[in-house]
């Protein structure tokens, strides 16, 4: 951990501390609405880190991360509504469930040398398959959804992840910060270098004695587990779950937007992406309401155009460019 800190340039240290201090102090000045936007920023930064681990570092394109998000969310909320098992225990059951799903997808894909586009499609197929399955799973409310009552005993206690926006704000902040630290540490670990080798040239990596199947499986394991924790947060924050929303391919795409816009394979990319994208969408909604435009598709059109413009002009993401401008980058390792 100390090593990571020392590697940052001085400007970077100041920048990190200032950002962290601002994030911790934000609830003092922010109103409820702004706080809810910031919660989303941290939530997407967290999920972005999880996905970036698999795609940005190990180079495996997953378009089905909604699967792990949904499994995490459904496991923890179902345990709570059906058996009264709280989320702090539930999360430790949600993680293995999602991780097992990730292992199945990874094993099926990589064992049979399914790569690139084919692997991405396999991940979509699994997410869609599960979505339709949950649409017909009576015990979790099928397509009618699963709801967390706010009136059942103990549901307003913080240890059951019930409470005001402050609780969710700091929880999301801790998740995002912890994920960033973890990713920064993994990036410099032997495992991280193995991932980069697998990403850049699998054949050369194998020739150098790296077990590429194992490296990819570990990336999937960590990524799916982290996403499941995000799912538990999602379930208890929104307090309602619909298979058509949580397992949807739109959800998977939402997860991958921040790291891609921010910068694939960088530690700060997912954060920068989330900071850029979420308020952009929110302010657009506000702007449209101000002008009395109430059309459902307009925001998505804007999102789509943003994606196209950024990927055309700045394909390696905003962060590498921004870091250069701010003098925060360090010589490439």
């Amino acid at each position: 951990m100390r090593d990571i800190w020392q590697r940052l340039p001085t400007r970077g240290k100041i920048f990190c501390l200032a950002a962290l201090a601002a994030a911790i102090a934000a609830p003092l000045v922010a109103d409820r609405y702004l706080l809810s936007v910031l919660i989303l920023v941290f939530y997407f930064a967290y999920l972005g880190q999880a996905w970036n681990l698999l795609m940005g570092f190990a180079g495996q394109l997953s378009l089905g991360h909604a699967l792990y998000l949904g499994l995490g969310a459904y496991t923890a909320t179902a345990l709570w509504t059906l058996f009264g098992i709280g989320p702090w225990i539930g999360v430790f059951i949600a993680i293995p469930v999602a991780a097992a799903a990730g292992m199945i997808v990874g094993w099926l894909g990589w064992r049979f040398a399914i790569e690139g586009v084919y692997f991405a499609l396999l991940t979509i197929a699994f997410a869609e398959f599960t979505r339709i399955g949950f649409d017909h799973l009576q015990i979790t409310g099928a397509s009618a959804g699963l709801f967390l009552s706010v009136n059942s005993p103990g549901s307003d206690k913080w240890w059951n992840l019930g409470g005001g926006p402050l609780l969710y704000y700091y929880l999301a902040l801790i998740l995002a910060a912890a994920a960033t630290l973890l990713v920064a540490w993994l990036r410099r670990s032997p495992l991280g270098y193995r991932w980069l080798a697998v990403r850049e040239d699998p054949e050369a990596a194998q020739a150098a004695g790296i077990d590429i199947f194992r490296a990819k499986m570990i990336a999937m394991l960590i990524s799916a587990s982290m996403t499941a924790v995000g799912g538990v947060f999602y379930g208890f924050y929104y307090r309602n779950l619909f298979p058509s929303q949580v397992f949807d391919i739109g959800r998977s795409i939402e997860i991958i937007m921040a790291p891609i816009i921010g910068g694939l394979g960088t530690v700060f990319g997912p954060i920068v992406g989330a900071i850029l994208l979420t308020p952009l969408g929110e302010s657009l909604t506000a702007l449209m309401q101000h002008f009395g435009i109430n059309t459902p598709g307009a925001k998505s059109i804007f999102y789509g155009l943003t994606l196209m413009v950024i990927i055309t002009l700045q394909p390696s993401g905003v962060w590498p460019w921004l870091a250069r401008k701010l003098g925060l980058d360090r010589p490439r390792a």
Partner: protein
Amino acid sequence: MTAITLNIIVQGILTGLVYGLMALGLSVIFGVMRVVNFAHGEFTVVAMYAAFLLFDMLGVSPLVSLLPIAAAFFFLGYVLQRMLVEPFVSRAEHEQFILLVGLATVVVNGLLLIFGPDARPINLPYSFDSYTVGSLFIDKVRVFAALGAFAICIALFLFFRYTRTGTAIRACADNLTGAGVVGLNVKQLYAVTFGLGFACIGAAGTLMATIADASPGLAPAYTLLAFVIVIIGGLGSMAGALVGGVLIGISEALAGFYIQPSMKSMFSFALLILVLVLRPQGLMGRRL
């Protein structure tokens, strides 16, 4: 096999041929350019709306508007490739994916803005007629749609097999460097390929409009459907797209009738997972 099962299988085959034509567009584009068109279903639905508008405002039957729409889509695909996709051909897969997902989002929400979420049916005078063959009742519109789809597939196959342009495109797919060395205009041929893929979409969407009601919500489902079909049949294999389409058509029809209509795509995805595991290159694809 009971008469009713046979009926359902025949309906599934007919629908499947239209699916196959749609998937063929995806397969042609990927087979030649190695670009996966993630906006495939979205443009299929655009074609469905085009067919609907021509029928609703001018009273043109989809079987007549088929060729003009396909031609317009050829042009659309050609321009899209030239303006948007061309710089991405040699870029990383995920960059192509982001570009086309962005495009898909714009298209599907554009449709939502213009037409709203409601389904738009085309009610032809013979929409509810059927042919009776022995114990089989076959929808008239489905027969027309399937025959149209099959004819276009054959035409495309002949084009690739026997014309100079078709041969040149196949040369690009087989050996890009070689194609460049012998002086083929690869950029031009890529644009033509993208146009042909879009012509398939235009034709498939028009035919689809006669058997399904156009609505923006169909778009992502069709994109996934096209992928599933193409992977099952084998990416880059023309016959594979048709075989995959028919297989999925049958599986959807059977699952829709015997289990639950809302679960029909679950079986398609199960079939996809099975194929990816047992034969990743697809039923008729070349070895990876």
